[in-house]
């Protein structure tokens, strides 16, 4: 594997430095030179070179071996018996990928007393549901779930396995990847099948400042964790039929090397989850004082919305961590998002920019949030918000 450059054939046309995303090609006299520390062998230069002076030697893809891997698997996480919303998002997206490949969509349920969800998964697009039940799977543990997943994947040879990028999904998937010596792409926000039937995985990197497209050409299955709330779940179709298969997997307690001794929910009673709400009222440092949160709370109550906060608000303890929106908090995509006194730093935007409608109130006309807001009001939130609340009340009352 490596890059071979034939300097004699090169005509110095300078197409390749422009094609290189990584700044690895520089002009060198009337030809070019390569910085192999920056090069990732993506092949863009090889593609544009009109005289074939650049050749990238790759590992051989064993097409026969790869062809043995078929079907799309999705790991459908449950929590205390409940199906996580990301599971339906994965099944919907997985259905689309399986259709493009002309293959089956297989959903995996692991837990204790969770079989009832199998039918829901079929209604949302699964052809086949593998149900693994047992007491040992009641609480998530890395060891028990890794054994179950690898026992399913290894003999059944799927082409693709997807996981939700939840705390547990991101704990589990890399463990499986390492056990099976597979590539894994973290926290994807885009998934496509290309003309070579490969899974093209798009994800943000460098704090969301750039996007990268990643493939796993040599190994199967191709595995990815998928960011929650990016793909929308489809409507259930109750006429869909599918097969439910119970799989018995024995895990003995000594194989599980960690023990969960206590589980604590930090979700505040009456505080709606930002991930599941259709409307979010989110406050930033512009709110100035925790007592002022009464104002956004009033609006949220009227609209049956969730209350959110930017990082500084959560860091100061004015709202619980479960309500933080952004890169180090939750990713949300509600139908309506209010950004109140939020500047709209890139780390905040990453978590909310795919909301359907964004409303911003900020007194700084230059605040970056306005560059993504569908409706922006430049002004003091303490004078504007009470008017908005009054107007919303009036409109709702008149219905």
């Amino acid at each position: 594997m490596g890059l071979i450059y034939d300097r004699d054939t090169c005509t110095g046309c300078m197409l390749c430095p422009k094609a290189c995303n990584f700044g690895a090609i520089e002009k060198d006299g009337d030809k070019v030179k390569f910085d192999l520390d920056k090069c990732v062998l993506c092949g863009s230069c090889e593609e544009v070179c009109p005289v074939d002076a650049i050749k990238i030697e790759r590992k051989k893809v064993d097409a026969n071996e790869i062809a043995q891997y078929k079907n799309v698997f999705v790991f459908c996480e449950t929590h205390e018996g409940r199906l996580r919303s990301v599971a339906l998002e994965l099944v919907t997206k997985g259905r689309e990928l399986a259709d493009k490949l002309g293959e089956k969509l297989v959903a995996i349920l692991i837990g204790n007393d969770i079989e009832e969800h199998a039918q829901t998964l079929i209604y949302h697009g699964a052809d086949h549901v593998l149900v693994v039940e047992g007491k040992i799977f009641t609480d998530y543990t890395t060891d028990a779930y890794t054994i179950a997943m690898t026992s399913l994947i290894a003999p059944r040879k799927p082409a693709i396995v997807l996981y939700g990028a939840t705390n547990n999904g991101r704990d589990l998937a890399p463990r499986i990847a390492a056990r099976l010596a597979l590539g894994l792409t973290a926290d994807c926000t885009g998934l496509e099948i290309d003309e070579a039937r490969q899974l093209v995985q798009t994800r943000p990197a460098f704090g969301g400042n750039i996007m990268a497209e990643i493939i796993s050409p040599y190994t199967r299955p191709q595995m990815a964790t998928v960011r929650p709330n990016v793909f929308k779940p489809g409507e259930p179709d109750t006429s869909r039929k599918g097969e439910i298969e119970k799989v018995n997997i024995e895990v003995s307690p000594i194989q599980v090397r960690t023990r969960v001794t206590e589980k604590v929910s930090e979700i505040v009673e009456g505080m709606k989850s930002v991930e599941e709400a259709d409307i979010i009222v989110c406050s930033g440092r512009g709110i100035k004082d925790p007592a002022n949160l009464e104002l956004p709370k009033q609006l949220a109550k009227l609209l049956d919305a969730a209350i959110g906060g930017s990082r500084p608000i959560v860091d100061m303890g004015w709202l619980p961590p479960t309500q933080q929106v952004g890169q180090s908090g939750r990713t949300v995509c509600p139908k309506l998002y209010f950004a109140l006194g939020i500047s709209g730093a890139i780390q905040h935007q990453i978590g909310m920019s795919s909301s359907d409608i964004i409303v911003a109130i900020n007194k700084d006309p230059e605040a970056p949030i306005f560059s993504i807001a569908d409706f922006g009001i430049v002004g003091d939130l303490f004078t504007v918000l009470p008017e908005v609340i009054a107007e919303v009340k009036r409109v709702l009352d008149s219905r």
């Binding site: 192999l36 890395t142 973290a186 960690t258 409608i357 504007v384």
Partner: protein, 263 residues
């Protein structure tokens, strides 16, 4: 006595990394390099355990020659010795190849606890920790917010962040942990620390010393491949009004939202 290994990564200050929109290339020149902030939490946690129970803290990185700065910073904070895995053959590694390279070295050491950062802020994958745990054959506890050793020093008791809150998890040593926000406040190295850091044991390890088949490492050994990078699509701003008359502005907003069917 606990033997602790802390894998750290030198990362660019990500908020300053941008795309050159014209050429579509990453602008990394002039972007300062720092010790990954989550790894500072890991180093601090290791030092605190050592201060309480005695032992040794080894800092390890796989990276280019300049990554030495990240190791020196961790030594200045209080690490005891450093290992720098550096060779052209390691370059371009994805998380799998990174974890493999680290595992090939750490496996030869005696260790009780490995503490990684939750994630490196350049790639944000949070995968190297769990992959390393698997390759070392030890259990993992990810997203640790609180940490203690049991009285007999044979078990860790960790509070782990979950999507709903947290859980308390126990595991016998050896174990791998990943450190997240809230675990501690990393100390700033003082002048004495910085001076001492340069005298502490420091080994460089290249591909020959590591003794691993080069085809398994670096870009060659990586199952994933970056095909393209591009600037994220920007959502365009829409209506923007001044709130000279707050009541009128509110009315306009609510009309807009009603028309869109949002409320």
């Amino acid at each position: 006595m606990v033997k602790i290994v802390v894998p750290v990564k030198q990362v660019p200050e990500v908020t300053e990394v941008r795309m050159n929109e014209e050429t579509g290339t990453l602008i990394r020149d002039g972007v300062p390099s720092i010790l990954n902030p989550f790894d500072e939490l890991a180093v601090e946690a290791a030092i605190q355990l050592k201060e309480k129970h005695g032992g040794e803290v080894t800092i390890i990185t796989m990276g280019p020659p300049q990554a030495k700065d990240a190791l020196l910073k961790a030594l200045a904070m209080g690490g005891d010795r450093a290992v720098h895995l550096t060779d052209r053959a390691f370059a371009g590694a994805d998380t799998w190849a990174t974890a493999l390279t680290l595992a090939e070295y750490i496996r030869k050491e005696e260790f009780d606890i490995v503490i990684c950062g939750k994630q490196a802020i350049d790639g944000d994958t949070a995968q190297v920790g769990p992959e390393l745990a698997e390759l070392l054959g030890v259990p993992q506890i990810c997203y640790v917010q609180k940490l203690a050793l049991s009285e007999d020093g044979k078990q860790v008791i960790a509070q782990r962040g979950t999507d709903e809150g947290h859980e308390v998890v126990k595991a016998k040593l050896p174990v791998l942990l990943t450190a997240t926000k809230g675990l501690n406040e990393p100390r700033l190295p003082n002048i004495m620390g910085i001076m001492k850091a340069k005298q502490k044991p420091f080994v460089e390890v290249n591909i020959e010393k590591l003794g691993t088949d080069p085809s398994r490492l670096g870009l060659k050994g990586s199952p994933t491949q970056v095909r393209k990078v591009f600037a994220p699509e920007k959502k365009k701003g829409g209506i923007k009004i001044d709130a000279d008359n707050p009541a009128a502005a509110a009315k306009q907003l609510v009309e807009f939202l009603t028309k869109k069917g949002a409320i």
